[in-house]
């Protein structure tokens, strides 16, 4: 398993993602600079958290035009796995790889705190090690995490089981009071139609070891590894890859 962590000017969670893969998962990982365009040989791309290009215009708006994002677009179109965390999720929506947009938190405040998430879909390549409706504890750190999508597209996302995580409380209750930022339907993370791209505002890479206060996020990376190994196995045995 080889993972590419993209570094934009202003990324600040690239080291966290790198460390989660290298030290917690103990797999190969490289930093890839935003001016690079070559993703060959990688199984998964992580677009990390931070404030790419100062988040000028809108969060993730300028990063969208960097050379590496064109390469990521091609990579995911070919079925490669991509995980966008926080600012990475914003880059994925800005580049229309994922639907919707992330706008200012309802409270206007930057939220740096632990959040509970309910796993809505445990059949994605990123979540197979979770139980359906399992409640996990993962930190959030964002000012613009309020997921907005128009009614029609929201229905499409919901109907196709593309909501992966929702904000909830410790008991898994999803309602307006347990929604920290005003996201529509308390959405914290979604996948694309193909299921190979996950965007989420919370930080699983910051909850990948018990010493960090939670290792609930490690299961996401382990699920991803399972999916990559499974795909490699299918390729070797000659069956057509699902992607």
């Amino acid at each position: 398993m080889r993972v590419a962590v993209i570094t934009f000017p202003g990324s600040n969670s690239d080291h966290d993602s790198y460390s989660a893969v290298k030290y917690c998962l103990q797999e190969e990982v490289d930093y890839i600079w935003h001016q690079d365009t070559d993703l060959s040989g990688y199984d998964c791309v992580i677009l990390p958290g931070g404030f790419s290009y100062g988040d000028y215009l809108r969060s993730g708006a300028i990063a969208r035009f960097s050379p590496i994002v064109s390469a990521v677009q091609k990579f995911v179109a070919d079925g490669g796995f991509a995980l966008g965390i926080c600012n990475g999720f914003q880059v994925l929506t800005e580049s229309a790889i994922l639907p919707g947009a992330l706008i200012r938190n309802r409270s206007i405040k930057f939220l740096g705190q632990w959040a509970y998430l309910r796993v809505e879909n445990n059949t994605t390549p990123f979540t197979t090690r979770y139980q359906r409706h399992q409640v996990i504890r993962v930190p959030i750190a964002h000012g613009e995490g309020n997921f907005y999508v128009a009614d029609g597209q929201l229905a499409e996302i919901e109907d196709n089981n593309r909501v992966v995580f929702r904000y909830c409380d410790k008991e898994g209750v999803v309602n307006d009071a347990t929604n920290p930022n005003g996201s529509r339907n308390s959405i914290a993370g979604i996948v694309n139609a193909g299921g190979n791209v996950l965007g989420m505002m919370p930080h699983p890479e910051r909850a990948a070891d018990a010493i960090l206060g939670s290792d609930d996020g490690l299961l996401l990376f382990e699920s991803l590894r399972d999916s990559i190994n499974k795909r490699a196995g299918e390729k070797t045995s000659g069956t057509v890859s699902a992607a």
Partner: protein, 100 residues
């Protein structure tokens, strides 16, 4: 927005008519958390006549000239970069052209 081109041929490149303002705002159906917060604060300050506030951004852009190509670029960059069509709409105004 006006499209008068009468002055285009003789205008020098620094003419005011080359200056555009692009206004970017949320679509009506998108809740604007910033505007809501501003409105609430105004109410606390005693400004009870300000019932609703919607915040937005504007960009002042000076173009190389006022050719059709420049206008085309402006429209394109507004669509592709300045505004995110998922949540926002934009409007281009030409303050320098209003006087002619």
């Amino acid at each position: 927005m006006t499209n008068t081109k009468e002055t285009a041929k003789t205008a020098n490149s620094n003419s005011n008519s080359n200056k555009a303002v692009v206004y970017v705002r949320f679509k009506d159906e998108v809740l604007d958390p910033e505007g809501v917060t501003i409105q609430k604060s105004l109410a606390v300050m005693g400004y009870d006549k300000a019932l609703s506030v919607r915040a937005g951004k504007f960009y002042e852009i000076e173009l190389a000239d006022n050719s059709a190509e420049s206008e085309k670029q402006l429209k394109e960059l507004s669509e592709k970069a300045l505004a995110n069509p998922v949540i926002e709409r934009f409007e281009i105004q030409w303050p320098g052209k209003g006087q002619s």
